[in-house]
């Protein structure tokens, strides 16, 4: 259901202020969402003054700098730092993206960093993506092919292969799904852009023999048709993919077959 306001225990409060100690003249304020289950308190926004003269270009570098030099207690996911693993997905300056590919110079004014929207927070910038992974599992994201002679290569024409372009690049970072208002209000039932893009990736694969069943599985008022082309997903995707178009293609397939 649509619940615009945050629940009582999620209301964000003002947190600590970490003044700059380096004496640098090039300072930026970074506001970061913090929550720790052991304190029993509401989430808060901590503000850090960061010396930008000695900080590399991306938001992830900024977070690393804060963690290394100012406040080691801050928690966030990160791994590859090259936009490949999708771990450091978060909300920066009101828009979802990967911290490792987002330059902080693109952000004007104070830098606001929140976890991905409308998730149960585990700690600080880490959100719980369990539901999304279960939904991903539900579309059976693997090749289904009954071919008996598995010793042969399963060839695909160049044309068929090109249909997977713009789909296979998805790294499941959840930037799109957690940017989608429909997913916020109906996340337990609506599959969301990330999972639907993956579903489409298997529906359109010429080597897969389960196309009909796959289509039927997502053909559901709530699972698929909660997409109202708000296009937050396409706007958010850090890999430049187009989940909204993938969903539209599934709808089109269902309407024409």
């Amino acid at each position: 259901m649509v619940q615009i306001n945050l629940p009582k225990n999620s209301k964000v409060q003002k947190g600590e202020y970490f003044k700059d100690k380096t004496g640098s003249k090039n300072i930026r304020k970074v506001n970061i969402y913090r929550w720790d289950s052991s304190t029993g308190k509401n989430p808060r926004i901590d503000t850090y003054e960061v010396d930008m003269d000695n900080c590399p270009s991306k938001v992830l570098d900024l977070l690393n700098k804060i963690k290394n030099e100012i406040d080691p207690s801050i928690a966030y996911r990160r791994s590859c730092a090259h936009g490949v693993c999708g771990s450091c997905a978060m909300n920066m300056d009101g828009k979802n993206g990967l911290a490792c590919t987002k330059p902080h110079s693109e952000i004007k004014g104070d830098i606001n960093i929140y976890p991905l929207p409308h998730l149960k927070v585990q700690k600080d910038l880490i959100g719980d993506l369990d539901t999304l992974y279960k939904q991903y599992h539900s579309v059976e994201p693997w090749l289904k092919n009954s071919a008996k002679n598995n010793d042969k290569e399963n060839l695909q024409s160049i044309e068929d292969r090109s249909k997977l372009d713009g789909l296979y690049e998805c790294i499941m970072c959840a930037c799109c799904s957690t940017s989608c208002p429909s997913y916020w209000w109906n996340g337990d039932k609506y599959l969301g852009p990330a999972v639907l893009l993956q579903a489409y990736r298997w529906i359109i694969d010429s080597r897969d023999e389960d196309k009909k069943e796959r289509l039927q599985k997502v053909a559901d008022e709530l699972k698929l048709y909660r997409c109202h082309t708000i296009l937050n997903c396409t706007n958010a995707c850090p890999k430049g993919l187009n989940p909204a178009k993938a969903i539209a293609e599934i709808k089109k397939m269902l309407a024409t077959t």
Partner: protein, 127 residues
Amino acid sequence: MENNNPLSPHIQIYKWHVSSLVSIATRIAGIINILATTLICIWFSSLLFGESNYEIIKVFLQSFFGKFIAIGITWSFSFQILSEIRHLIMDLGYGFELKTTNITGMIVIIFSFIFTILIYLLGRQFI
């Protein structure tokens, strides 16, 4: 076990862009249009009960508030029709590139006002 962890902020912090604004505005305009159509139906049926009803509505529509509502409804109809045409094109699978969605969104917003002005001028027989 119930998860009592806090919910991360969503609509409070998420940035708006053309497409999301057009989308939410379409919904609001849709609700306004349902109410408006109902009101217009009630107006028509009230005419069955005599001339005095016509006079009341006329006085209301000529007041500042009445004019505001009439022009507002003109806008919400123009906006929703344009936005739904945009959605029809999207349902055919076209216009999903970010640039295109921004342009078509802006077209919907700008032309909804142009239509409102045109309909107003036509109604006042200025053109």
